[in-house]
């Protein structure tokens, strides 16, 4: 029986990436590929140097390696990514960033505008970085057109940075439960609301990906047309998808509310307000 699962990943080193050095990606590459040991990996790359480094690691972990060259300029989402990058230059929230410096880490738009886009100074590199994240779904579509694997796992090369930091971090051990995009939770926020989806690892069957790609494409197009200046990546767009069709998503790191939680909650409910004040959460 042919293998069911295909991992898909990509690595493009963008000169001028202000947040991540090339070494950041190479440092996490090996443990990420280790989790795919013995599996099949379709890998999008731009330079021969990246191909040779990744090939060596893939061989080490006996991965059925399926490389695919892709230049930024040929990425199907490059033009739309450039439009959003240009528009994000108007997200001039300097007064808020000065008053509340923590926003540059917690809030997605601030993080993108101040750390990646550097207040519009790093526009060209940002456009390229953006297409790498915002255009994942197009690469999945290519993978589905080229191969007939039933289960498709998008995995960022740096996905191992979450190892032991989130529940069920080893995605290779999680099986697909339903026709939905399986994902981890995000801690970043959009206007103070937690993003619904974290983009480092996303997986589902062909049916889920087909529905997802259609919805994502629609939302992406709407975002571009809307003139919105809030800097978006795949995660804000997936948050919009989630708000529209929550049934299309399945969180894999959910800490469930057990019977014990419910019983204690019931007992504490008369003191709810005071407890929340005590925990500084009110």
């Amino acid at each position: 029986m042919p293998p069911k699962r295909l991992y898909i990943s990509a690595l493009c080193i963008v000169e001028g990436n202000l947040k991540r050095s090339p070494e950041h990606y190479f440092h996490h590459l090996e443990p990420t590929l280790n989790m795919m040991r013995g599996g099949s990996l379709m890998f999008f790359y731009e330079s021969a140097e990246i191909l040779s480094r990744v090939t060596a690691v893939a061989e080490k972990y006996e991965i059925n390696f399926l490389p695919q060259k892709l230049n930024f300029e040929d990425h199907p989402d490059y033009e739309r990514a450039k439009t959003l990058a240009q528009r994000a230059c108007d997200f001039r929230m300097d007064v808020f960033a000065d008053a509340f410096p923590e926003l540059t880490s917690n809030e997605k738009g601030f993080n993108q505008y101040f750390k990646f886009l550097n207040r519009g100074e790093n526009l060209q590199a940002y456009g390229k970085q953006l297409v790498c994240t915002i255009g994942k779904y197009s690469l999945i579509k290519r993978a589905m057109a080229k191969y007939d694997f039933e289960e498709l796992y998008w995995v960022d090369v740096s996905a191992s940075r979450f190892n032991h930091k989130r529940k069920n971090f080893d995605f290779s051990k999680i099986s697909i439960r339903k026709d939905a995009i399986h994902h981890y939770s995000s801690s970043q926020k959009i206007f103070g609301q937690t993003q619904k989806v974290q983009g480092s690892v996303l997986f589902g069957n062909r049916r889920a990906w087909t529905s997802f790609a259609e919805l994502y494409d629609e939302i992406f197009e709407e975002y571009v047309r809307s003139g919105c200046i809030y800097p978006a990546t795949d995660e804000p767009l997936m948050t919009l998808c989630h708000l529209k069709k929550p049934e299309l998503f399945e969180r894999v790191d959910l800490e469930r509310r057990t019977l014990l939680h419910k019983a204690v909650g019931k007992l504490l409910s008369p003191f709810r307000k005071n407890l929340l004040i005590a925990m500084d959460q009110y």
Binding site: D90, F91, R92, M93, D94, V95, F96, D98, A99, F100, L103, N106, E107, F110, K189, I190, F191, G192, Q193, E222, Y223, S226, G227, C228, I229, Y230, T239, L240, L243, K244, E255, R257, L260, H261, K262, V264, G265, L268, S269, R272, N274, L275, L276, I277, A278, M279, D280, Q281
Partner: protein, 278 residues
């Protein structure tokens, strides 16, 4: 001898205000005057019919009223507000306002979206001047008069509950600070510092706030900030620089809260209790 307290308020009915109707204000104004029974009030307005309403209410509720005629376009902050509005466009965050609608975010930028979208640029500028411009009016009044305390009160402030500790008429002001109620609205998930409806302080505090506020407004304009700016936004930004300048009158986290919070944290029960309380 200095008189104790002077209240200041205003009401401009802006034709085309997409958020509040003329009737909204006219319904709340009598109750606001009733709350101010026996007090001294300076009231800024433009139209003759509003002046007539204010005079009649003052008579009914024995408010010592001074009317100040001020066309909104001559408001000291009108020109700056119009400049600020050039960067605040309806399309900026509409997609997020629509997406989060109904989720009760109380997020200022999203809350303003509907209003912004359904208003002409000049109308939105005028409405914003009404809220944003209160510190300039307070500064002016505090310079001209000799009261110990100056209180801003929105014409529609009667929609606030004013029982117990929230009855501002009985507030003993914390010196050196603008005394205020907490706001439910948020800026990127963080609560704004103050609700702008009722604000009290000594004259020197108002002068200080006005200086900081004007400087922030100019920075806001020069940096082309696209976030809707109101009095509460600027007070939140001012409080980030000068937290000592603000004092919230709402009940606070008591020592008991702090002790219990510490115990919960030490026992590493924060996450469990949060989940239990859902």
């Amino acid at each position: 001898m200095k008189k104790k307290r002077l209240y200041v308020s205003s009401l401009w009915i802006i034709e085309g205000n997409a958020k509040r109707s003329r009737q909204h204000y006219l319904d709340l104004l009598p109750e606001t005057f009733k709350i101010l029974r026996g007090e001294h009030l300076v009231f800024f307005c433009e139209s003759e019919d509003i002046k007539a309403v204010a005079l009649s209410l003052a008579q009914r509720y024995k408010v010592s009223l001074t009317i100040r005629h001020l066309p909104i376009q001559q408001h000291p902050d009108y020109a700056l507000t119009r400049q600020m509005m050039d960067n605040i466009r309806p399309e900026n965050f509409k997609i997020w306002a629509d997406a989060f609608r109904g989720s009760g975010t109380h997020e200022k930028a999203l809350n303003h979206q509907n209003w912004l979208q359904n208003s002409r640029h000049d109308i939105y500028s005028k409405v914003t001047t009404c809220t944003l411009g209160k510190t300039s009016l307070m500064n002016e009044i505090a310079l001209e008069n000799k009261y110990e305390e100056y209180f801003w009160i929105d014409a529609s402030a009667s929609r606030l509950g004013i029982s117990g500790k929230m009855d501002f008429r009985r507030w003993r002001l914390k010196p050196g600070a603008i005394n205020h109620r907490k706001s439910v609205m948020k800026l990127f998930g963080n609560r704004q510092t103050a609700n702008g409806m009722v604000l009290g302080g000594e004259p020197q505090v108002w002068h200080k706030l006005h200086g900081i506020y004007q400087s922030l407004l100019k920075t806001y304009i020069s940096t082309h900030c696209p976030h809707p700016g109101t009095d509460e936004v600027f007070m939140t930004l001012a409080a980030a620089q000068h937290p000592e300048l603000f004092h919230c009158k709402n009940p606070k986290r008591t020592l008991m809260h702090k002790v219990i919070g510490k115990i919960i944290w030490k026992l590493r029960l924060t996450s469990f209790i949060s989940r239990a309380l859902n």
